[in-house]
């Protein structure tokens, strides 16, 4: 009997159909196991609360107003034609994760091909339907960190071991500004952040 004949013979083994009852029971038990304490201990996910509108809001609002003004005045020219292919993939990924964690997603963070999720531990019951998707990228040498999120959500990234929390906001002309506790970034003030070059763009125009 040749190798080919043996393979042909083995292919004749009939596999029984999946028992849907057993399958349903298996899924149910697996989901229980997934939800048990400890099951998520090693997950590469940092869980934190989405920052509500809170202390210091007037000061933040003032800073944002300035940034919005600067962004509006200096960056009205339309160079929106970037990421023609990227936008579709980014929007799709955001939509997928948002669907998996409705009201809980702060950001999808991609670093060197690995994707992490920044999730709130409190689900937002009222979805902000006008939130605009955006992408922020941090670059230093060959290192690159991409952040997909929505305008106004609190995002925390780790750059050189330093945790940096900020909000990314889409401006009226489709630009993006970043506002952190001790920094502000805009296309008009493109300062390095922890040594990283920053790029940001709204994805809303591709919707």
């Amino acid at each position: 009997m040749t190798e080919a004949e043996l393979k042909k013979q083995l292919a004749r083994l009939k596999t029984p159909a999946v028992d849907e009852t057993a399958k349903g029971r298996a899924l149910h038990r697996a989901l229980i196991a997934q939800a048990q304490p400890g099951a998520r201990s090693a997950a590469e996910v940092r869980v934190k609360a989405r920052r509500p509108i809170s202390y210091g809001w007037p000061a933040v609002a003032a800073v944002l107003a300035v940034l919005l003004f600067v962004a509006t005045v200096h960056f009205r020219s339309g160079d929106e034609a970037s990421m023609p292919v990227a936008a579709g993939a980014d929007l799709r990924m955001l939509a997928q994760v948002e669907g998996l964690f409705p009201g809980q997603l702060n950001a999808v963070i991609e670093r060197d091909g690995a994707v992490k999720l920044d999730l709130a531990d409190v689900v937002q019951t009222q979805a902000d339907s006008d939130e605009q998707p955006l992408v922020v990228q941090f670059e230093q040498g060959s290192q690159r960190l991409r952040v997909l999120s929505y305008s106004g959500r609190s995002i925390t990234v780790e750059l050189k071991g330093r945790r940096i929390t900020f909000e990314a906001l889409v401006t009226s002309d489709g630009g993006v500004v970043l506002s952190g506790a001790d920094f502000a970034w805009s296309p008009a003030q493109p300062e390095l952040l922890a040594g990283y070059r920053v790029k940001a763009q709204a994805l809303g125009s591709f919707l």
Binding site: L6, K14, P16, R29, A30, L31, A39, R40, L100
Partner: protein
């Protein structure tokens, strides 16, 4: 520097492939997303169930092994290091679960009973009363193999893994897999040839 992106200065996204989707699902499931885990479960359950059947040759055992596999996967997803494909990682868990069950004497007895009633209990073993004779012959031939040999056959011949991948799943050297396959083929050819000559399943 400008913060805006120029045409030649785009933020390259990951390729919108199924692999990316799967990586995302795995990450989401590891973080506790039930919908993400359910998608992975539905994608891989039939494959793992079939693999479990080829290891155990018993539908009831296949269902139990598949269930144990996904329970273990749900608990261990956070530790999945992506060094192997997710599918091969599931194969590894399933093979371990199958071996664990073999080691248990009670399971052995249950299997013995199942094998003994192979031809008597339609729907309990194999494909049931309407299982083709050719399938019965192959199943009986596979039953005659030791679990280690059967595992090698299942991984390489049925799941399409190469010897190196099968070795990683089985937790042994690649040469061991090659040797097990050699031994398995000898036995299978002998049994299947004898069966064909005798026409016992025609």
């Amino acid at each position: 520097m400008t913060g805006r992106l120029q045409d030649n200065d785009t933020m390259n996204p990951p390729e919108p492939t199924e692999a990316v989707d799967e990586a995302l699902l795995i990450t989401a499931a590891a973080s506790g997303s039930a919908p993400a885990f359910t998608q992975l479960f539905n994608r891989y359950y039939p494959m793992i169930h079939a693999f479990a059947f080829r290891l155990s040759l018993c539908p009831a055992e296949a269902g139990d092994i598949a269930q144990d596999t996904f329970i273990q996967a749900a608990r261990a997803l956070g530790g999945f290091r992506r060094e192997a494909s997710f599918k091969n990682w599931l194969y590894t868990i399933a093979a371990n679960k199958s071996r664990d069950r073999h080691r248990q004497q009670t399971r052995r007895e249950r299997l013995s009973t199942a094998y003994a009633t192979l031809h008597e209990t339609a729907g309990v073993t194999g494909g049931g009363a309407d299982e083709p004779a050719a399938s019965v012959a192959v199943r009986e031939a596979l039953t005659g193999l030791s679990p280690e040999l059967r595992e090698a056959v299942a991984l390489v011949y049925y799941e399409g893994l190469n010897h190196a991948e099968a070795a990683r799943v089985s937790g042994c050297a690649e040469t061991t897999v090659s040797w097990r396959l050699f031994r398995a083929k000898q036995k299978l050819k002998r049994v299947l040839r004898a069966g064909a000559a005798g026409g016992s399943h025609d």
